[in-house]
């Protein structure tokens, strides 16, 4: 019976995970993308600084919750004022919802008053897949040594309601404060919520 079972298990097709795994406590993988101004940016150019990655789709109602309320822009502004690098990444495939070019990204930034360091375009989805980004928004925090210290949701209440923002724990300011004070990160992962990232089929 054991041999039959073993053979059965061998014949079952093990679907390779399509989204790669990064893990808190492990080095964050390097990547290179073009920003909204056509400039090539790499994660490695920011070594020695804390880096926040924010997955974005301007047309997603969950992204709309955090930008429409000003929550995201405030967090971006507070972080960058403290020397943190904030990279917004758009992994919508060409032709899918949220796919924008550099000019449209700059128009979006101006319209919502976004305050990130750079808006990076990932239409092939290679960086989204590298990090396992599955929703917009989906957040990652990398420390000065290049180690991933947080991954997951932007806050603790999964909804599209702006009214929930004030009631929720905002994870990014919390992580940044703890890293700044040399404290352990109290919440290192929280499930992300939002629209699915619009990868190509």
């Amino acid at each position: 019976m054991k041999r039959v079972l073993f053979a059965l298990l061998l014949t079952l097709v093990l679907a390779a995970p399509a989204l790669a795994k990064v893990a808190v406590g492990q080095p964050a993988p390097d990547f290179t993308l073009t920003d909204s101004n056509g400039k090539s940016r790499s994660l490695s150019e920011f070594k020695g600084k804390i880096v926040v990655l924010e997955w974005n789709n301007p047309e997603c109602p969950f992204v709309g919750k955090h930008y429409g309320s000003g929550n995201m822009q405030k967090q971006q502004g507070d972080a960058t004022a403290a020397g943190v690098i904030w990279l917004t990444i758009n992994s919508s495939a060409t032709g899918k919802q949220g796919d924008i070019d550099g000019a449209a990204a700059n128009a979006y930034i101006a319209k919502v008053g976004a305050r990130q360091t750079a808006y990076l375009l990932d239409p092939t989805g290679q960086v989204g897949h590298l990090y396992g980004a599955r929703t917009t928004p989906h957040m990652f925090v990398i420390d000065k040594a290049g180690v991933l210290r947080y991954m997951g949701g932007i806050d603790s209440i999964k909804s599209t309601d702006k009214d929930d923002i004030a009631k929720a724990t905002q994870y990014i300011p919390q992580v940044l404060a703890e890293l700044g004070a040399g404290k352990p990160v109290s919440v290192a992962t929280a499930e992300p919520y939002g629209c699915g990232v619009k990868y190509g089929s």
Partner: protein, 259 residues
């Protein structure tokens, strides 16, 4: 569900409806009256435009489950939704669980013993949902119905019985879950196990949402799931929905601390 839809079309239920983009939601009652001290069943009906869907209690990698909040007369209480078996809705590599077409979400309403016959109960369901095709649109609706309180429940809607019959059954199998490396393994034991074709975990942060590997041995079925990227601590138990073709069961298994 097709048989339910045919019966639904042939009667005029007590309802309140809202037509938002891409899904029409309405509140229905099984019986025409509420009986003091008894459980009455209501249902949220979701009629989706083709290719649009809403989500199960665990929506999967993205999305939000449909949520109900209630405004009820004093002494009344509403229980949890009895979720029908969802289907897998995959958008690329992302896995979701939800509903398309015409679906009913039944909810039990506890009527207090002190409810007075020949009065009317005003019941309001505040529904929040996310309806998606590839893009997602949040929606909300306040649905109100007035139901008379009576010593007799009155006519029962046949479509409700049909909907109830199609809900996942409570399974009586023994089983357990354990963490094995980067997998969560659920073992189900029983001589009468059906040919299980798929399984969905109801709890979040336990497994990744791809279909588990399924293997059979003697009187056992082993479901092997990839562990969630957001797994932190093992829960005391996990709730799963298990499918064998069109049939579905809800099963709860304890989580053992050592395999």
């Amino acid at each position: 569900m097709r048989s339910v839809l045919v019966l639904l079309l042939s009667i005029t239920p007590l309802l309140a409806a809202a037509d938002d983009e891409h899904v029409m939601v309405s509140l229905l009652s099984e019986h025409s009256a509420l009986v003091p001290g008894k459980t009455a069943w209501l249902a949220l009906r979701l009629q989706h435009e083709p290719h649009w869907h809403t989500y199960w209690i665990n929506p999967g990698d993205s999305g939000l489950p449909t949520k109900l909040a209630w405004q009820l007369p004093p002494g009344y209480s509403a229980g949890d939704v009895a979720w029908p078996a969802p289907q897998r809705i995959d958008v690329g590599e992302l896995q979701n669980f939800g509903y398309e077409g015409d679906v009913l979400l039944p909810v039990p309403l506890e009527v207090p013993g002190e409810a007075k016959p020949d009065t009317t109960a005003h019941i309001v369901a505040q529904v929040k949902y996310l309806v998606c095709r590839e893009e997602c649109i949040p929606g909300k609706a306040d649905l109100a119905i007035d139901l008379p309180v009576s010593s007799a429940a009155g006519a029962a809607a046949k479509w409700f019985e049909a909907a109830r019959a199609e809900l996942p059954q409570a399974a009586k199998w023994q089983g357990d879950a354990s963490l094995r490396g980067d997998k969560i393994e659920v073992a189900l034991h029983g001589a009468d196990l059906p040919p299980i074709s798929d399984a969905y975990v109801m709890d979040r942060k336990i497994v990744n949402y791809a279909r588990p590997q399924i293997s059979r041995a003697a009187d056992a079925v082993i479901l092997s799931f990839a562990k969630s990227d957001y797994f932190t601590v093992a829960p005391p138990q996990i709730d799963l929905l298990v499918r064998a073709g069109a049939h579905a069961w809800n099963v709860r298994v304890p989580f053992s601390s050592s395999p």
